[in-house]
Amino acid sequence: MNMTDAQLHAKTQRRRNKDKINQLIFLASTSIGIIVLMILIIDILIDGIHFLRPELFTNFPSRLPSRAGLVSALIGSIYMLLILAPLSFIIGVGAAIYLVEYAKKGPVSNFIQVCISTLAGIPSIVYGILGLTIFVQLLNLGNSLLAGIFTMTLLVLPVIIVSSQEAIKAVPAARRDASFALGATKWQTVQNAVLPSAIPGILTGVILSVSRAIGETAPLVVIGAATFVPFLPANLLDQFTVLPLQIYNWIGLPRIEFQQLAASGIIVLLVLLVVMNITAVVIRNKYQKNI
């Protein structure tokens, strides 16, 4: 090929321009997410601000929009959060410790790992069918708060186990060796050398998964959680509702006021999730300093 300097220069210039143009296209694509998030928040604030008043937090659901509130849903979500978080933490971290620290490499631990990664890809609504069959019917818990909590625990476990495993694996081997060299037993080593340095990563994973569960609707619809609950659950076997279910119920009602109520409910739900995520960051920073 015979190319004069001028032709070569022009070609290089074209390639550079193409690079610049594509950079803009890529940046624009990345910005779509930000733009949509802003539109979503603005839309919800505009729709929801009207009903964001004290009565929203003190009143039960009502057929009259002016008297409707979400106290039963908010309390239901908080009850669920308070039991789901420790329950899924204990089982999830327990399973992760077993798989990383105790299990021998072999068919048993491989099989457990395959089960966990399979579970992580199953749609949440299928967990609802599981909860309906096992907890609601077989164990006769009915459509109670307890059945809902158990179903949600199984839903969040795979993600908690995987993220905890990663946090535990990231602990340097030297910490374990040092502990063993001091004569500590296996469990003492796990307790005093491994967990303290893995706990920030573990907690981040647990809080993020639990906040995912707090926003989840489909499995609870399937286990038959009621959408109209004009009372507070008195015990774990009582009927219950949670914020996403209440929001879903309001979205389905025809009057425009109920759409606005749904938007108010969404604001409350998003604030709850933001608080949980900030807690995750605070806890992580606090523990990270102490090590």
């Binding site: 290089t12 390639r15 193409k18 690079d19 594509n22 950079q23 890529f26 940046l27 694509s29 990345t30 779509i32 997410g33 930000i34 949509v36 979503l40 839309d43 919800i44 999830g92 971290v93 327990g94 399973a95 077993y98 105790y102 299990a103 457990i112 089960c115 890809g121 199953i122 749609p123 949440s124 609504i125 299928v126 967990y127 609802g128 069918i129 599981l130 069959t133 096992i134 019917q137 199984l154 476990l157 795979p158 037993t185 003492q188 906040s211 926003g215 609707t217 489909a218 399937v222 038959g224 996403p244 879903y248 979205i251 389905g252 938007a263 969404i266 739900l269 998003l270 999730l273 995520n277």
Partner: protein, 307 residues
């Protein structure tokens, strides 16, 4: 101060920790066993009721029937195809939205963005991934559907297009972050080699990085597809509840997940053939997502290029 019982205390402590070392592994194993039991429970739940259902409705009729009227008073029809095409229609729209945008943002974040820009953009994508699906459903119904109706006035309020677009937006962060992980795994030296030959960043991205990370990128598409198939609340709220066999995205359709919700919200008596439909549809959904996830796994393992 003397410590007469120091030795005893040590022994006691040692015994206690030995005891802990005996019990703890069993307790931890039981925690791990929960996952195995969950999977077995899911398989048991889906199959036990589905078998009853398929005793009354032949599998062939279920898989090839084009009419889905299981709740009708008379002339019940149990052909799952309308639900399958409805699911597929929304999922394909979601992929059309999310794959180009997700891949483009992965390329931007991995190949173009400075550290500062990345520190701002990545958390925003994470927030987008953490928004509950019911909120996306509300967004589809209150913003996207009216917008589509404004452009194409004959569109019904509940339509597959709106649900598909919003579902695509929901999946963007997933595709973007999985693809970016795959691109980050491509060694710096390969990029530097191309740069040294005078390649632009675009040429490096498209001719070096994307081909080298292709298995991870395609796996991210497949996982996004599978996620879209199992998504429930967006389609329940925004896509409607009419199981019709159509490929027109402007019509109201029903997906498999939305059907399960519809039956769960109603008062269908337990044990009947109508009740069995949610198990049969749930089983279909379970098997489809399972096969797709296995496929994604296969792609990553089979075509991974090790550096």
């Amino acid at each position: 101060m003397s410590a007469p019982n120091q030795t005893n205390l040590d022994m006691f402590k040692n015994n206690r920790s030995h005891l802990a070392d005996k019990i703890v592994p069993t307790l931890l194993f039981l925690c791990a066993l929960v996952s195995v039991l969950t999977l077995l429970g899911i398989i048991y739940a889906l199959f036990s009721e589905s078998i009853n259902f398929f005793k009354q409705v032949p599998v062939i009729d279920f898989l090839t029937g084009t009419q889905w009227f299981p709740l009708a008073e008379e002339g019940k029809e149990f052909g799952v195809l309308p639900l399958l095409t409805g699911t597929l229609l929304v999922t394909v729209i979601a992929c059309i939205v999310s794959i180009p945008i997700g891949l483009a943002s992965a390329i931007y974040l991995s190949e173009y963005a400075s550290d500062g820009v990345r520190r701002v953009l990545k958390p925003v994508l994470e927030i987008l991934a953490g928004v509950p699906t019911i909120v996306y459903g509300y967004f589809a119904l209150s913003v996207v559907s009216p917008f589509i109706q404004w452009i194409l006035p004959e569109t019904s309020l509940f339509n597959a297009l709106s649900a598909g677009i919003v579902m695509g937006i929901m999946i963007i962060p997933m595709i973007s972050s999985l693809s970016e992980d795959a691109m980050n795994a491509v060694p710096r030296a390969m990029r530097n080699g191309a740069f040294a030959l005078g390649a632009t960043r675009l040429e490096v991205a498209l001719k070096i990085v994307v081909p080298a990370a292709l298995s991870g990128i395609i796996a991210s598409f497949v996982l996004g597809f599978s996620r879209a198939i199992g998504e429930t609340m967006i389609v329940t709220v925004a896509a409607g509840g009419s199981p019709v066999l159509t490929l027109n995205p402007l019509e109201s359709i029903q997906t498999m997940t939305a059907y399960i919700v519809q039956v769960s919200m109603g008062d269908v008596a337990r044990g009947g053939v109508e009740y069995g439909t949610i198990y049969a549809v749930g089983l279909t959904l379970f098997l489809i997502t399972l096969l797709i996830n296995i496929f994604a796994n296969y792609i990553t393992k089979k075509f991974r290029e090790e550096y």
